[in-house]
Symmetry: C2
Subunit: 211 residues, 2 copies
DNA sequence: CCGCTTGTTGACTTCAACGTATACATATGC
DNA sequence: GCATATGTATACGTTGAAGTCAACAAGCGG
């Protein structure tokens, strides 16, 4: 059980050290969230002292924000196109972001969303995707409350599907996106009616806005 | 914006006060989790002083455990039968528990599961349901990693579906259980293959172990 | 070799939250 | 009415984590 030691020899150039701290902190925060994670824990995980943390970040909050910003930027990069719909590209983008930084992905969607101080920053994504989902779903589901239910649920399922896929060891990466999308489709199907056949759903599937 | 005041007049019999504290604390903890929720916050929300909290619970941890135990007991009550499978009864039980105490439900499955100190107590449920799900799913999904993925995901989707349903105002309660089940079914379908038709899935649906 | 930067160590301050203690007020039951 | 249990108010003690400071060590570029 040797601690992770990214550097048996010590000195690193500033930028690189900063990246390393961000990575370590992301892992640490992803385990227990902001409040329950100590700076010493982070420092140890990064193989340095708490004092050094403060030569790179003004405060714990500051560090956390940096991590969140970074992850949001990653998402933005992968969803660069107008997030106009819950399209195939969205799923792909989410997946790529998750593969790039699994811990960051978990941190954002399992912890940060539930931390009142920080959730606002992420709310934007959720709101956009949910709104897009609502547009698509309300076309198929007449009942408004039901449509809102499905619209709330769809993005969550996409995200949880991705996280579970990460946990399972990223099996069959080529078809992962398709499976995630199908899981979402299945969920939407549940809102349409409990009696209707799943096959109806395929017509509700998404290709983005037509022309 | 008057604060919630469950008791403008004050004195309550001990047992009743205790219940009220538990309820208030559940709400408070459900918002931000254990570490980020202060006792003063809870006391205020319960309409009393922090001192009174200590006449009912030895410590913050103690209080939290009581809440968790209580919610676990509720779940046990509703899933009393052997949780032998991811059956219709399981979904119903979850739903009823969630309706009884939405905040408790959220607390358990959105916060407590990610708090290393406490997750063990809940892990039992998750493990049981996941194992049951795995049994059913592995019968339909040959690839082991894929089956594990779906088995992890299925309970999460059930829970998130229920939470989203609560958030949407519990629309169409009569069919809620059926919809949740169908959402789960849809997810499982995603693991079977991305090309196969959903209808196959119905054979994978569950009635409990065959005689 | 000199100076800057990166790093360590250890002691220190601050502060918020947990937890305790004491004195006082007032309902309720006997 | 009096004892008991519930409740308030306020102050205090304790602890752990955030954040700071100063002295020292050692790599690396000029």
């Amino acid at each position: 059980m040797a601690d992770e030691k990214p550097e048996p020899g010590r000195r690193l150039p500033r930028a690189q050290r900063r990246e390393q701290i961000l990575a370590a902190a992301t892992e640490a925060f992803a385990r227990s969230g902001f409040a329950a994670t100590g700076l010493d824990e982070i420092a140890t995980e990064a193989g340095i002292t708490r004092v050094i943390l403060y030569r790179h970040f003004d405060s714990k909050t500051n560090l956390y924000q940096a991590i969140l910003d970074r992850m949001c930027a990653r998402l933005d990069a992968h969803l660069e196109e107008p997030v106009g719909g819950f399209t195939d590209a969205s799923t792909d983008g989410l997946l790529r972001a998750a593969v790039e930084s699994p811990a960051g992905f978990r941190l954002l969607f399992q912890h940060a969303v539930r931390e009142p101080e920080f959730k606002e920053r992420i709310e934007k994504f959720r709101a956009d995707i949910t709104a897009a989902a609502y547009l698509q779903i309300s076309a198929v589901v007449p009942d408004e409350a039901l449509a809102r239910w499905a619209a709330q649920l769809a993005p969550v399922v996409a995200i949880e599907a991705i996280i579970a896929w990460l946990d399972a060891g990223q099996p069959d990466p080529a078809r992962a996106a398709a499976r995630v999308r199908q899981a979402v489709t299945g969920v939407i199907g549940a809102a349409v009616s409990s009696d209707v056949d799943c096959t109806l759903l395929h017509s509700a599937n998404v290709e983005g806005p037509p022309s």
